[in-house]
Amino acid sequence: MTTRAAIAGLGITEMGKVYGRSATDFAVDAISRAAADAGLSLADIDGLYVNPGIKNDTDLRLQSTLGMRNTRVLATIQGFGSSAGQMVQMAAMAIEAGMAEVVACVYADAPLTEGKRAGAAYPGQARAMKGVGSLPFAAGLKAAPERYAVATRRHMHTYGTTSEQLGAVAVAARQWAQLNPAAQMREPMTLEDHQSSRMIADPLRLLDCCLVSNGAVAVIVTSAERAATLAQPPVHVWGWGQGHPGYVNRRDSEFGLVTGAAQSGPEALKMAGVGVDEIDVRELYDCFTFTTLVTLEDYGFCAKGEGGEFVASGAIAPGGSHPTNTGGGELSSFYMWGMTPLSEAVIQARGQGGERQVPQHDLVMVSGNGGVLDFHSTLILSPHQKGK
């Protein structure tokens, strides 16, 4: 399959510790900004996909809030961290099928409360402790840090990955963030800072964990032909893929070792008709440092088990051979689920990255990761229309 869809608009709201606004407020703001960025009005939008975050307090009824009439495609999408990639895929298919012409995709969340620590925003699964399915939660595997910690330790034991190598991911992200005026965390960070940061869930330290942000990000997807007439350089969608491993809790599980990126990455590359060696820029979901490392392995940027050495070599940092998470990622810039890597991918593909712009940016690979490495999406984006 080929695709003629392109991302024509990007809207990023004020981000981080921004209080007094609901997720819906942020979503309206992001979509308005994305439409204006594209040179469109809200009345031009005839499709809407809404991805609510952890607070789950916005949905497809955003249509009426925006005053949209006669909307042609409309849904709430929930693929957790893989949602942004999924929304772009569905928008592109809707455009390809003639179901809509201009589709807005938005993620919005407002989990932070003034005066409360960030960790309180994600207290863990809010499920009733009922039945045997609750046993892992009752035992203490509730929130993301401890659940990613057991995955990380399995990788460390199997492949010899070290905490210092995870720290290299955090330091690289911070180095990129220092070049990004919009990043929340821009203070210098050293490997020693990482190693001395407090333990959250061993082996994951504070600086292995992403930020928590209030805000929203929206993109506008339309046909390549329409995008060419609009205000911004089009970012063409060359390929996409999804991979959802469905880990089983038993002896042969690959949990912690192989993720859905190993399926969705090759599918997206195949659709795009390019090899992984041709990718110029990587924008990877980095809820934890380990997620970056294992995704690099599963996409094939290094061999399985060699992610630690790869990141410690400086490959992903500014000036490295494999520029990755060039805005600072979720670790140092802001946490908007899959919209964090997608928004930076659009900026890089357009060549609008300023001081952090990667000179060679013909192909950008974007990952989305949800659950505990359970749900994965991939996009391949380019400033060039495929085949032209």
């Binding site: 402790m129 009922k130 039945g131 045997v132 399915g133 609750s134 046993l135 892992p136 939660f137 009752a138 035992a139 203490g140 595997l141 401890e146 910690a149 057991v150 995955a151 330790r153 399995r154 034991h157 407090r198 333990m199 959250i200 869930a201 061993d202 082996p203 994951l204 089983v248 809790n249 038993r250 002896r251 599980s253 912690g256």
Partner: protein, 140 residues
Amino acid sequence: MTLTLIDAPAGLAPVVRDDFSAPFFEASAEGRLLLRWSPSSDAWSEPAARFCSVTQAADLEWRESTGAGRLVTWTVKPGRAKDDQPAVATVIGIVELDEGPWLSLLLPQADAADLTVDAAVRVAWSQPEGSEVLPVGLLV
């Protein structure tokens, strides 16, 4: 038979039964660990499984496990000091039972320094207030 219970450790949350889990908790009250087993595949699955984790067969039955296994991975949550009480670390492990399924278990008596992959673990039992009897793990 009198079941010996371990004092409920901090961090072990109460769980109540539903219809599906009633046989599991009937057995846990007697100190017996039940898993799911498929007669068509002779494969074992975790207690929450609705379908065989190997073949997706829908013929799962409850069957008793030995309760013995080995540590696959773990995390240590350092805890927070409160009101002059020192922080209490919590060790949570994924244990691969000898039959194959994994269980996530609180390891209430484990010293983090003693944790190694493949360490032998056996299931023991504890009962937080307002809860069914729940499995925990002890290093052997």
